[in-house]
């Protein structure tokens, strides 16, 4: 059923009891033209673009839990394209442009809110870094500029500007098109649109092995039985190294927990996404009024989706440094996700090992914003067997050739 003002009004009158399920609960068939492991945003978007752009609908997305139960449902929903290298901006701005039309395209409200993002500096040295990044953004053709102290303070009136504050706003980088979106809606919207085009979305399906014959992938073994395919996309975030190991491929990926926190809801007090370079903590206010808070990685590699106390303390002390008045707020929830961190802090997109196997992983702390692009690019590789111009620089071979895309050094992202 298409969502519209008419269907909404009609179903409201019928007590909301007759909405059809958003996507079909599929059972695995014996064979598919392409199989994607991982029902996060990247896997679901891949399936959607395979069907829509490449006309391939004998496609399955295999998800061991429920769709969006991984990092896609665990992140702090920040979307931006303020990166340093042209390769990165091409990737993340493709995603942002697709996000800008996504609700209409999917007929599903992903609640994109382009409220802008301020990366705030507190020292002359940080201002220099901001200057450099704002400059790079302009050279790369995305909206971005340096913001001065006065405008920054007006943007975030509750920020700690007391005489004894350790981190007083000096200004920062502003990207007006940045913002947030509803993360579950991104997963559900892609799932619904893909399902309507015939893609099978199979939840509760754990991929346990990958079958390779004569150097080419021929299928996967799952808890629901074998499934044949000769095109396999791996989009399983922190679980990707374990899956790649099944075909003898080792990846440059460490897994770490990354945590998020949500406060009780309050009246509107913050209408932008704010990151302090000095504390590493960032936050935004949800449409319900909760503060959604994040920070850097935990320091201990792990596969446990919960996070540890030292990182929690660091993030929350950052919040209080930024907004002393928030000390009165209660935290409602805390959780962690296992993120796949690559040495140059850029994703891995490209073929791996046996013919027919393609990777979409290594998004680390920042892959939610990239979902529409990650899906477009993995779909392109699965459909054509070859790189897209935008995915080419992110191939695994960059570690051999030395052409790293070091965004930690370039745009100062936290890992």
């Amino acid at each position: 059923m298409k969502y519209s003002a008419v269907t909404l009004a009609r179903e409201a009158l019928r007590g909301h009891r007759h909405w059809p399920e958003a996507w079909a609960k599929a059972r695995p068939k014996a064979a598919y033209d392409a199989v994607i492991v991982g029902g996060g945003g990247h896997g679901l978007a891949t399936a959607y673009y395979l069907a829509k752009t490449h006309g391939l609908s004998r496609v399955a997305v295999l998800e061991k839990g429920w769709i969006g139960g991984g990092n896609t449902g665990r992140n702090t929903t920040v979307i931006r394209s303020n990166y340093f290298y042209p390769e990165s901006v091409a990737l993340y701005d493709l995603a942002l442009r697709l996000y800008e039309g996504l609700s209409r395209e999917l007929n599903y409200n992903v609640m994109l809110s382009q409220r802008g993002m301020l990366i705030a500096a507190h020292t002359p040295a940080q201002m220099e870094i901001c200057n450099r990044i704002a400059n790079a953004m302009q050279l790369n053709g995305v909206d971005g500029r340096l913001m001065d102290a006065e405008e920054a303070a007006a943007r975030v009136p509750l920020a700690n500007q007391a005489a004894d504050a350790r981190y007083r706003l000096m200004g920062g980088i502003w990207q007006g098109r940045a913002g947030v979106a509803r993360h579950d809606a991104v997963a559900w919207g892609y799932a619904r649109a893909a399902s309507r085009m015939g893609v099978d979305i199979i939840e509760g399906c754990d991929v346990q092995d990958i079958v390779v014959e004569a150097g080419r992938v021929t299928g996967v073994e799952t808890n629901l039985g074998p499934i044949r395919t000769n095109r396999l996309g791996l989009a399983a975030a922190g679980a990707t190294p374990g899956l790649a190991a099944k075909v003898g491929v080792r990846l440059p990926i460490h897994t770490y927990a990354l945590q998020a926190f949500v406060s009780e809801p309050v009246k509107p007090i913050l209408d932008t996404v704010l990151l302090y370079l000095g504390t590493g903590t960032y936050l935004s206010q949800s449409d319900k009024g909760e503060l959604v808070i994040g920070g850097g990685l935990d320091r201990v590699p792990t596969h446990g989706q919960k996070g540890n106390l030292p990182a929690q303390e660091q993030v929350l002390s950052g919040v209080l440094e930024m907004f002393p008045s928030f000390g009165q707020l209660k935290l409602l929830r805390q959780w962690g996700g296992v993120v796949d961190v690559v040495p140059d802090s850029s994703p891995i997109l490209g073929p791996a090992g046996p013919e027919g196997v393609f990777l979409n992983c290594g998004w680390g702390t920042g892959g939610f914003k990239a979902i529409p692009a990650g899906g477009t690019l993995l779909a392109h590789m699965l459909a054509t067997g070859d790189h897209h111009a935008i995915s080419r620089p992110f191939d695994l071979d960059r570690f051999r050739t030395g052409r790293l895309i070091d965004e930690a050094a370039g745009s100062g992202i936290a890992h």
């Binding site: 374990g242 080792r250 897994t255 590699p301 792990t302 596969h303 446990g304 540890n308 106390l309």
Partner: protein
């Protein structure tokens, strides 16, 4: 706050330690190919479950080998490198 076992100092707060590198990836001999060298520099196993890792106790400067379950975070042992 978890405690990690420094073979020299005994149990200390996890914040005093730095993860250094996964154990068991020896440096290739001779003149390795670019691919072998890149694999040595970057590729890891990132196992889910028991893992052998090199850690640094920052406060005393000791590197040691720790065995740890990366899923449960249980410490399974620490070895002095001698």
């Amino acid at each position: 706050m978890q405690r990690f076992p420094c073979p020299f100092c005994g149990p200390r707060a996890e914040t005093e330690f730095h993860f250094a590198v996964e154990a068991g990836h020896p440096r290739p001999d001779g003149a390795p190919s670019d691919a072998d060298w890149a694999a040595y520099l970057y590729d890891v196993d990132a196992p889910k479950g028991p893992a052998r890792e090199m850690w640094l106790h920052v406060t005393c400067g000791t590197y040691f080998l720790m065995t740890r379950d990366t899923q449960t975070r249980e410490i399974l042992g620490a070895e002095d490198l001698g």
